[in-house]
Amino acid sequence: MPETFFGWVLFLVDKYGMIFVKGAGVTLALAVVGTAIGCIIGLIVGIIQTIPVDPEDSIFKKVFVKIIKWFLDAYVEVFRGTPMIVQAMVFYYGAMSMFDIDMSPMFAGFLVVSINTGAYMAETVRGGIDSIDPGQKEAAVAIGMNHMQTMRCVVLPQALRNVMPQLGNNLIINIKDTSVLNVISVTELYFASKSAAGVYYRYFEVFFVTCVVYFIMTFTASRLLRMWEKKMDGPADYDLVNFDPMMDPCGAVPLPKVKKGH
């Protein structure tokens, strides 16, 4: 048996490496898929919640929109207001006892993470939309765009760009917080670590490795998202087009770049 701390770490990594990798894989899958689906839910909910009510609309439409908004509000409040660990229990065991549905722990995990993230992203998207200068919307309306065009071409591209850092935040939170899914026996990284630790009673060494693996995942996620944001922003400078590309079939000749920061 190893004598030192690092001796144990190496020993355990060697022996249980595959378990760590598999656990990390499950964690990543849950976090990435859950965040992605959650973002789609959040986008839809956020957009619906910011639909303006026009006083000239029919009473039918007004009532309909109001009811939908009320339900979405309730969804957001309930899922933001209860712990994910409890939601997991309620979904998994509730489905079994109330509806006789025996969903796999993995499926319950995806469901809970997605719906939970959706609730948070809905608020983020709503805030993102509300934060766009009303002048942007007015200019779009003034050149004849309807509500859908205004949202799609002008408001959402800007709102979603502003929401990107929050998306990164959610992904990182999900990588860490999927660990609570061990209560319904999802074999994610924390669950796998606990099993491995139990064999030799080396909790400190095993969870030290677990810690490193979690950090590698979150740090990579954070950097990748930041790179993506940079790419979305495009270049910080632009080419002056000295003569008219419409008049010259060869296109524009780039002049020296003009640097102009924010």
Binding site: E56, A139, A140, A142, I143
Partner: protein, 248 residues
Amino acid sequence: MAEKELLLSVQGLQKTFGEHVVLKGISMDICKGDVICIIGPSGCGKSTFIRCINFLEQPTDGEILYRGVNAKKAFKSLPIYRTKVGMVFQQFNLFNNMTVLENCTVGQIKVQGKGQEEARENAMKYLRHVDMSAYINAKPYQLSGGQKQRVAIARALALEPEVLLMDEPTSALDPEMVGEVLKVMGDLAKEGLTMVIVTHEMAFARDVSTKVVMLNDGVIGEQGDPGEFFSHPKTDRAKEFLSRFQNL
């Protein structure tokens, strides 16, 4: 003189915000080739008036006729009417997520249904007009205020509106940039573009406009030929207002 072609007719326009009556019945005819400058003290409802013309603000009462037909019913939809009545804002409001060129093509493509190439060609024509064709690849945050406003003018013109509404187009600009925008506006006036301009540039109103309208307290305080208005204002209110501006 030949009969002027009537484009827009504002009749008894009223606008109330809650309890606050801002416009108390304003009527105005806008004929082809008119350059109407709207002046008046801050908060008197100049913006509200001009925004009611393209229904960015819903009038509480009164009617706006486009060539004799209720403007809301003159076209298949309100957006089509809005393309006939362009708007330039004090704060430019260029679309921040688009390049200069995209700002000038998006309306043509999405609203007017033009093809990419045609829209681009048309946008270039107007960008050249405001001397911004070299900047088609720039994003709004990379431009100076005067450049932004010139692009905003090109964006409005690219839809080939019959009337251009401008709400204090030079008020948000640094003093050294006011001139370049006023020059573009002056050129457009000379070419015969119909414009309704809210402005505090009294010299511009005097030299370029065909008619000056002073709003006061939600009604038209005084209006008339610019030469007459500036040299011999009739009402005390107009005299008092004009006395605040030097160099006239």
